[in-house]
Amino acid sequence: MNINNLDIGQKVKVLKIEGRGAEKRLFEIGIMEGAELQLITRHPFKGPLVIKVGNANVALGRSIADKVKVEAV
């Protein structure tokens, strides 16, 4: 399961991040293995997702969101 498949408001834990490249930028913003996330909104027309990490809201493009594998908590 990745963040794209979540329901609005669903809380999850990051299992792993697939592929290299944006791994470091995600890590810096707090999205790493074991981090807890919550999906806040999903913009239409395959627009960005807004997720909550810690106490911060972060917008992610769909392609990068696909790489974040999560499991339900």
Partner: protein
């Protein structure tokens, strides 16, 4: 005594420094505004302290521009103290950076900002325990209420006094430290155990350890003590973060800003002209009196008063209104929300969504649009937006004149509009391919009520360049152009009729009009009106003019915002576009 302030984006770092020093530092509410570092002086107990403000970074070892700036500053300026500004309401992530800073082995003071926010979240942070775990001083702080200010001053007094911070047991001597090595390849942190290829965006074992450490510390020191209080802006934030309704509200705000801008320029033009007219007359007589009668005198007497009109009637109001609106959008935290709402549209053209805003402003006037291009996340994206603005987007003045000329010659409107749309599509796709797009990761700051003093400071700071850079530059360029026009250099091109007709299918006079766009884009079509052109010739000439070069004020703003080198690139692309369009239309049109 040098203090370097470092913190994550959106922690309210500049607001903290504003509170500490009371000075005019750029204060911003979205990731990555203060790309430049700035320095302010503060006097405590008779000693001078210089505080360096730095752009927000998530990691000092990151490959991002901001992190590079911070590393350079740390290397060049031998800082006495690092002031780490931490967002207490987002402790875990902020502590990752703190853990990095601790490895530098410099005296570190932590300002735990937004401590009031933590309380309204119903949390409590054990400051003593945090200080113990990190082995450095921690001062709870609030930039909004001023809490912690006196404790900071006291700490500084102690620092310069006999009891030196670095000598107290707060700084753990046994900690393993590293020095930043800028010379290491790709700016890698150098303490990597995991990867063998130093690509710069690799994550090291040390990174993971620091994150793990931050998580443990954050869990240990934070405790929930009461229920989360409802915050004033919670509700509004939830509305703005709803995709459809939020985007709609954002567009209404953008429209209001756009409307105010045009109205302001429109309304201010009369009074400003009224003031300028006598001034112009005075300058004219003054120059004629001091300079000997002749070519030089007549050029200066004409060019200087003329050169005052555009900066005062268009650029000054544009810089003020756009500066003010951008300050409000930044300080409320609305600006990043534009980026998210418009991301899809922007990606069609190869830039971040907020690029739509300067392009939309460009249909009104290109000068404020170039100022507004600052909302783009980096220089490469700004370049794309400014290039499109300069070459393709017709401003309202251009549109008006173009429409008049099209009507006068019965030129083909569908061909001209079709060509413009096509050029826009081709140019943006070429530019976006040249400049790779990063994965879209963007932090949204919480909505805040802007501090009026910050908004005024920012508008003021963005406007300061008007008298020192914009006005002198425009005056000099205006004089240069007058000289060029009066010297008859353009006459030379009139002899190139054969060349012009063969290549573009238009007479040489029309080609001269195209070249005039370099100076005044909306003057060029007027030159066309007086020529005996066929409808086909007019269609080609108008398309060439519509897709050529930025006007003089836009040129000056581009130099100011992007530098001369980028302007040269844009002008070269503009000329290439214009000539290609003329050449192709001549081939294709019946």
């Amino acid at each position: 005594m040098k203090i370097i302030a470092i913190g994550n984006p959106n922690v309210g770092k500049s607001a903290v420094l504003n509170r500490l020093t009371g000075s005019q530092i750029f204060v911003s509410n979205y990731a990555g505004t203060s790309v430049e570092t700035c320095k302010t002086k503060m006097i405590i107990a008779g000693r001078e302290f210089y505080i360096y403000d730095t752009p927000g970074v998530y990691s000092i070892f990151s490959v991002a521009d901001e992190a590079r700036v911070v590393r350079e500053l740390l290397e060049e300026e031998q800082a006495d103290i690092i002031l780490n500004i931490v967002d207490a309401s987002n402790l875990e992530r902020n502590l990752v950076l703190t853990n990095e800073l601790l490895t530098l082995g410099k005296p570190l003071i932590i300002l735990l900002n937004q401590i009031d926010m933590v309380r309204s979240l119903g949390m409590n942070i054990d400051v003593k325990l945090l200080a113990q775990r990190l082995g450095c001083l921690v001062i709870p702080f609030s930039a909004t209420s001023g809490e912690g200010f006196f404790e900071f001053i006291k700490t500084m007094e102690e620092y310069i006094g006999p009891k030196n911070i670095s000598k107290t047991d707060h700084n753990d001597k046994n900690r393993k430290t590293y020095t930043i090595n800028l010379n290491s390849e790709h700016n890698c942190s150098g303490n990597c155990f995991r990867c063998s290829d130093h690509t710069g965006d690799c994550m090291s074992e040390a990174d993971l350890q620091r994150a793990e450490e931050a998580r443990r510390t954050s869990k240990m020191v934070s405790k929930r003590v009461s229920a989360r209080q409802k915050m004033r802006l919670d509700k509004i934030e939830r509305i703005y973060d709803r995709p459809v309704l939020g985007s709609f509200l954002l567009l209404i705000i953008a429209y209001l800003g756009f409307y105010t801008l045009l109205k302001f320029i429109d309304l201010s033009e009369g009074p400003i002209n009224m003031l300028l007219h006598p001034l112009g007359l005075f300058i004219e007589t003054f120059i004629e009196n001091i300079l000997p009668v002749g070519w030089l005198s007549s050029i200066f007497a004409k060019a200087i008063p003329e050169g005052l009109i555009i900066p005062f009637t268009i650029i000054m109001p544009a810089m003020l209104v756009v500066g003010f609106f951008m300050a409000i959008l930044e300080d409320t935290g609305l600006l990043p929300r534009y980026s998210v709402a418009l991301e899809r549209v922007g990606s069609l053209f190869g830039f971040s969504g907020q690029g739509i805003i300067p392009l939309a402003i460009g249909f009104g006037c290109r000068t404020p649009a170039i100022v507004a291009s600052r909302i783009m996340p980096n220089q490469a994206q700004r370049f794309i937006v400014v290039t499109l603005l300069s070459i393709v987007i017709p401003c309202s003045a251009t549109l008006g004149v173009l429409a008049a000329v099209i009507a006068a010659f019965n030129a083909s409107l569908p061909v001209i509009i079709g060509t413009m749309l096509l050029v826009f599509a081709i140019l943006s796709s070429i530019l976006s391919r040249l400049i790779p797009r990063e994965e879209y990761i963007y932090e949204l700051p919480p909505l805040r009520v802007p501090l009026i003093s910050n908004v005024i400071n920012k508008t003021n700071m963005r406007f300061t360049g008007f008298f020192t850079e914009v006005l002198p530059l425009l005056l000099v360029m205006n004089i240069g152009i007058r000289m060029l026009m009066d010297s008859g250099a353009l006459e030379y091109f009139r002899g190139m009729d054969g060349f012009s007709r063969a290549l573009f299918g238009i007479p040489a006079e029309a080609l001269v009009a195209v070249l005039i766009t370099i100076f005044q884009r909306y003057l060029a079509p007027i030159v066309l009106i007086n020529l005996p052109l066929t409808s086909r010739e007019a269609t080609i000439a108008i398309a060439m003019i519509a897709l050529s070069l930025p006007c003089l004020p836009a040129i000056v703003m581009t130099i100011r915002e992007l530098g001369l080198k980028n302007l040269v690139k844009i002008i070269a692309m503009g000329l290439a576009t214009s000539f290609t369009v003329g050449f192709l239309l001549n081939l294709l049109l019946p």
